[in-house]
Symmetry: C2
Subunit: 328 residues, 2 copies
């Protein structure tokens, strides 16, 4: 079964007209892993720290080797802190792999490559969770320790588990993603626990004070949908940046998922995916030809260079998105 | 309260006379951490692998950061495998410390210095224990992976927890040893769980087939007593190597413990400690003057160079101990 947003009867208002010199323009970014982290990093470079809140998917959190691992939260935090591996986009820069190499020698599960520095995050988070601290408290403390002055919030302090319904049965997301290498054909998604998982402390307040919500170029199905399911409604302007460029994803299986669900993967498909909440949409230059199709959905559009392979492109794209919000 | 052995009414037989050319002479070594591991390593160098079983204290096993840590088992295994840090005697050679450094940055507990390679041992052991494997199964597998062909057995698969009764109250051993840096004055010891903890599979069989039992130069109070409490009786010749030289310990708090318990720390005190089970005793050249006092306990003696600061001294001492056993 494919996921659909609960239809929002109140179409969100259009983006408020404000001069670009306005001091306070709180932005809430919704982010998954690598692609989302890059735009969040761009926004962090161009906004005052107090004006950015990043709400991060926790649907693919999982337990491994007895450790509680939050891949998207860690990718966002490592990226904002300048600690991320620039080659992969995830994990730590200048990482060593001595623990996992020795686990492998002992015949243990080494399919999830945990670096030594990265292990510290999981060990200390797991220890604190067992002590009764919440994921949002822990994330806040870790952000301080890593020198991150923006607010980074897990979407929820309660467990939500993204399950992939596939031709090989229902798989936990990480099992599908890492262990099964995205090979099974997806048939739909399920977010176990999402009905009872409330948003983490600070999520509602951030959305209330937001001028606009930016949906980062993350996987709509498995990175953004879980967040939207948890926060339920957004009554602020929403601008999404397409994670699909020229029918393909920069990274990750979003395009493959669209195709397997019988939808042609394209920026248009993404805009349709979010249409009930979307005010505006940013698509790549490569997709300029389908801009008019998207406009027909009554969604404002910006065509931009959305690739963020170089660090400097993150701030450039963030600035373009913010100007687009201010001028819409 | 100080621990005493249950009095053994059957004084063990004297060591069997055998020509030194005898092929099979199974030796069981009882060992704690660093000192015990060194003599076990010496024995491993001079005996055929199938003729040595090392039974290791697990009384100071503890949980930390959610990991099940067996300091003595790991020290013995790392030493036998040639993986131990030659500087400290414990931990791994060529170790890195990236995980613990990052745990410290996150404000986590860094008082127990876990190296990155060492972490793998604890992570994989904890994972397997949670799966339901026993400590002895896991230890056997790890020994294979590390290329150890001697049998290394935890004293028990059931938890035994050495508790130190001190002027600061009752402390778990590792808390006393590492966190409180052996500063509290000891009043006695308690081994929680020892009454119900049976010996691990293989322990009884090894003792039955043994020609002699060697008590390695480990702490009598907290490394050897727990093993003796678990195995209850030994009906084989027992030779102990004194961990106290010239009234001092090479490493660790044994001498301090004797003094705090009102007993002058000396090789004689160690011989008295073990007297109900002891056939023979090895003391250091530095203590030659008290050899006659020990002989008065009806215990055979060997005066030797018992320091094993250099690796080559381990095999030399092991050979002297084996010749002493063969000739007693």
């Amino acid at each position: 079964m494919a996921t659909k947003f609960s239809d929002n009867p109140n179409r969100p208002p259009s983006i408020v007209h404000r001069p670009s010199s306005t001091v306070h323009r709180h932005i809430v970014a919704l982010a998954g892993g690598v692609g989302g982290a890059k735009l969040a990093h761009g926004l962090a470079q161009v906004l005052p720290p107090e004006d950015l809140t990043v709400i991060v998917n926790t649907g693919d959190d999982f337990e491994h080797l007895g450790l509680y691992i939050c891949p998207d939260l860690d990718t966002v935090c490592y990226t904002l802190a300048g600690l991320a591996n620039p080659e992969t986009g995830w994990g730590r820069v200048d990482e060593t792999w001595n623990a996992i190499a020795n686990i492998e020698k002992l015949g243990g599960p080494a399919w999830f490559r945990l670096g030594d520095q990265d292990l510290a995050t999981h060990l200390e988070r797991t220890r604190r969770l067992k002590e009764g601290q919440t994921l949002s408290q822990i994330t806040s403390d870790f952000c301080k320790a890593w020198g991150i002055s923006q607010k980074v919030l897990p979407m929820s302090d309660s467990p939500v588990r993204t399950m992939v319904d596939s031709d090989e049965g229902v798989l936990a997301f990480r099992e599908y993603f890492v262990h099964r290498r995205r090979e099974p054909r997806v048939k739909g998604f399920r977010f176990d626990g999402v009905e009872v998982a409330g948003p983490a402390p600070g999520v509602r307040e951030a959305l209330e004070s937001a001028e606009a919500v930016v949906i980062c170029p993350s996987n709509p199905w498995v990175s953004i949908d879980p967040i939207l399911k948890v926060i339920k409604t957004i009554d602020k302007p929403v601008v999404a940046v397409s994670p699909i460029i020229g029918g393909k994803t920069v990274k990750g299986p979003a395009a493959k998922m669209y195709a397997e669900l019988g939808i042609e993967p394209s920026a248009l498909a993404v805009a349709r995916h979010y249409r009930t909440i979307l005010t505006a949409f940013v698509l790549d230059n490569a997709d300029a030809a389908i801009e008019s199709e998207i406009k027909k959905l009554n969604i404002k559009t910006l065509v931009a260079d959305t690739l963020m392979n170089e660090v400097q492109n993150r701030a450039r794209l963030a600035n373009e998105v913010l100007r687009f919000i201010g001028s819409s």
